[in-house]
C-alpha cells in the first residue's frame, strides 16, 4: 500500500475546472515527482492533497485513511510537511520564530534536537538564526522553507519547485540536501525542470492541462519520446 493514494480527483479554483480526474500514488520511502509546464495543474494537485483546494470529486487516502473531506490543518497534523513554490516564509519573523511557528510539538528537548538536525542540513540558517527572514538571500529563504517542513515528525514532504529562482550553486546545494532527506523521508516533489530531478526521483508523472499524460519509473525512457518532451514539458531536444 502506498503512503498517499490520489484517485480520480477533480479540482476547481472558483469556477475554473483545473484538475480533470487525476490519479497517482506516492509509495513510502520514495521520491515521486510531478513534472509539467507552468499552469499544468501540479501545484493545484499539491494544494488539493493539503486541503487548501479540496477536490469536488475523487478520493485522497493518506496512510490508508480518507483525508479529502478534512480541513487543511487536520490533514497536515496527520504528518505532512509542505514547502510551497514561492517559499512563503514569514518575513517579519526571525529564522528561529519561523521554525517555532511551524513546530507542532512543544518541549525544549524536542526543539533542541530538531534545531540541531536543521543546522546540520542547512548550516547557513544557524548563522542567521536571529535575523528577520526577509533579510535572507533567496537560497537561504528556500532553505528556511524546507527546514520549516522538517521541524515536525512528518511522514510525507510535499515540496513545490524548490529550485525556482535560485542560482545554479544554491540549486545544486539544495538538491544535495534533498538527496540526504531522501534516505529518511517520503517526498512528493513538483518540478518544471526535469533535468534537475533526474537523479532524485523514483517515479515520475507528467502533467498537462490538468491531466496526467505520462508516467513511469525511468526518466530516460520517459524523455526518450522527443514529442512528449517537447509538447508536455516545453523543452526542445535535439
Amino acid at each position: 500500500m502506498s503512503l498517499l493514494e490520489v484517485n480520480d480527483i477533480h479540482v476547481y479554483i472558483q469556477s475554473f475546472y483545473i484538475l480533470h480526474g487525476v490519479s497517482f500514488e506516492v509509495p513510502k520511502g520514495e521520491v515521486t515527482v510531478l513534472l509539467g509546464r507552468n499552469g499544468s495543474g501540479k501545484t493545484t494537485a499539491m494544494k488539493a492533497i493539503l486541503g487548501l483546494l479540496p477536490p469536488r470529486q475523487g478520493s485522497i487516502r493518506f496512510k490508508g485513511d480518507e483525508i479529502s473531506h478534512l480541513p487543511a490543518h487536520k490533514i497536515v497534523q496527520q504528518g505532512i510537511g509542505y514547502v510551497p513554490d514561492t517559499r512563503r516564509i514569514f518575513n517579519t519573523l526571525t529564522v528561529e520564530q519561523n521554525l517555532l511557528v511551524a513546530m507542532r510539538r512543544s518541549g525544549t528537548k524536542n526543539q533542541e534536537d530538531k534545531f540541531e538536525y536543521i543546522f546540520n542540513l542547512f548550516p547557513d540558517l544557524k548563522q542567521f538564526w536571529k535575523n528577520k527572514a526577509r533579510s535572507l538571500s533567496g537560497g537561504q529563504q528556500q532553505m528556511l522553507a524546507v527546514a520549516r517542513a522538517l521541524v515536525n515528525e512528518n511522514d510525507l514532504l510535499l515540496i513545490d519547485e524548490p529550485t525556482e529562482g535560485l542560482s545554479p550553486l544554491y540549486s545544486k546545494n539544495l538538491l544535495r540536501s534533498l538527496s540526504q532527506l531522501k534516505e529518511t523521508k517520503t517526498i512528493l516533489l513538483v518540478e518544471q525542470n526535469f533535468r534537475s530531478v533526474t537523479a532524485l526521483g523514483d517515479r515520475y508523472y507528467i502533467f498537462d492541462d490538468g491531466k496526467i499524460v505520462a508516467s513511469g519509473e525511468d526518466m530516460a525512457k520517459l524523455t526518450a519520446d522527443k514529442e512528449l518532451v517537447s509538447r508536455h514539458l516545453g523543452v526542445t531536444t535535439t
Binding site: 480541513p71 487543511a72 497536515v76 509542505y82 514569514f90 511557528v101
Partner: protein, 360 residues
Amino acid sequence: MSIETSIYQKIKKFILTSRIVKILTLVIILILSIYWAYSQIEISVDAFTLKFGRSIIDGLAYSMLLFLMVSGFFVIFGLCDVINFAHGAFFMLGGFIGYEIYLASEIYLLDTAFLNNNFFVSLLAFFIACIGTASILAVIGGGIEVFTIKKYYGNVTSQILLTIGFMFIIAKLAEIIWGAPFQTFFLDSSSQLNYFFLGGVINLGTGLVFEVYQIFLIIFGFLFAGGMFLVFQKTRVGLQIQAGIEDAEMVEALGINITRLFTLVFMVGAALAGLAGVILVPWLGANTGHGTTYLIFAFVIVVVGGAHYGRFEGTFFGALIVGMSIKFCEYFFPDISSIIVFIIMSVILVFKPGGLTGEH
C-alpha cells in the same frame, strides 16, 4: 556612472534610509513646532512650560487609552482582514457595562461589609468591572464572529455591511438603555462611596498639577504595550498571530487551526475594546456617542501605524502620535484639534503609503 553621481546617489540613499536622519528630522520638527506654538501665544515662559507639561501628560494618558482600544482593532484587521466597524461600539458598550458592574459591585461589597475600607472597595469594584466587561465583550465578539462574520471571510463588502449593522444595532440599544449621547455618565457622581481609589491629583508645585488616574493610564499603557510585545515575540500563539497576519493560508498549511485562531483573535480584540471602554470611564465617563468618535481614531491610528502587514509596534507609535497631537493642539491650537489627526494621516499616507511599519 561618474564618481560625482555615485557619491550623490550614496548621500541620497543615506538621507532616505538612515534611521539617524529620520530621528533627527523628527526632533527638529518637534522643536520647531514647540517654538512655533510658543511664538503664537502671548504668555510667559513659565506659563508656557506649565501648559506644555500638562499637554504632554494629557497626551500620553490619552495615547495609552487609544492604544489599548486600537490594539484590538489592529489584531482583528491584521489577522482576519476584517475592518470591524463595530469596534467603536464594543468600546462604548464596554464603558457602560463597566460602569454598571462597578456600581453594582460597589453596592455588593458595601453590603457584605467584609471590606470597610473605601480604597479596597473601590479598587476591587474597578478590578471586577475590568475583568467582567472584558469577559462579556469577549463572548459578544466571539459570538458575532462564529455566527455571522465567519461565513463571510474573503467577502469584504458583506463584512463591512455586517459590522456596520452591528455598530448601529449596539449604538441604538445603548441609546435605548442609557439615553442619547448628550449625557455622559461619570463614576464619582453615581457612586455611593463618592470615592475612587485613583482619584485625586499630584501637585508638583508651581501650578503643575496632574490627575493620579492619568499617571496610572500612562504606566498601565506602557506595561500593557510591553506585555503585548512579549506575547507577540515569545509565545506560540503570539507568533502564530503575527505569521497569520502575513499569510493566513500558510499558517493553516503548517497544521494550525486558523479558524479557531480567528475566533480567539476576535474575542481578544473585543475584550480589549471593552477593557479600554472601562478604563476610559473614571477619566472621561461613559457616553453613547463614544463609539463613533473613537472608531474614527482607530482607523487613523491603524493607517498611521501600518495597516497592511504592519507590526504591533506601529500601532503603539500611531496611538502616541495621534493622542499627543490631539492634546497638544487642544492646549495650543484648539481650532485645529479636531482635524489634526487627519492632517497627520494625509501627510503619512503621501510620504509612506504603508504607514510607519506596514507595506505599501
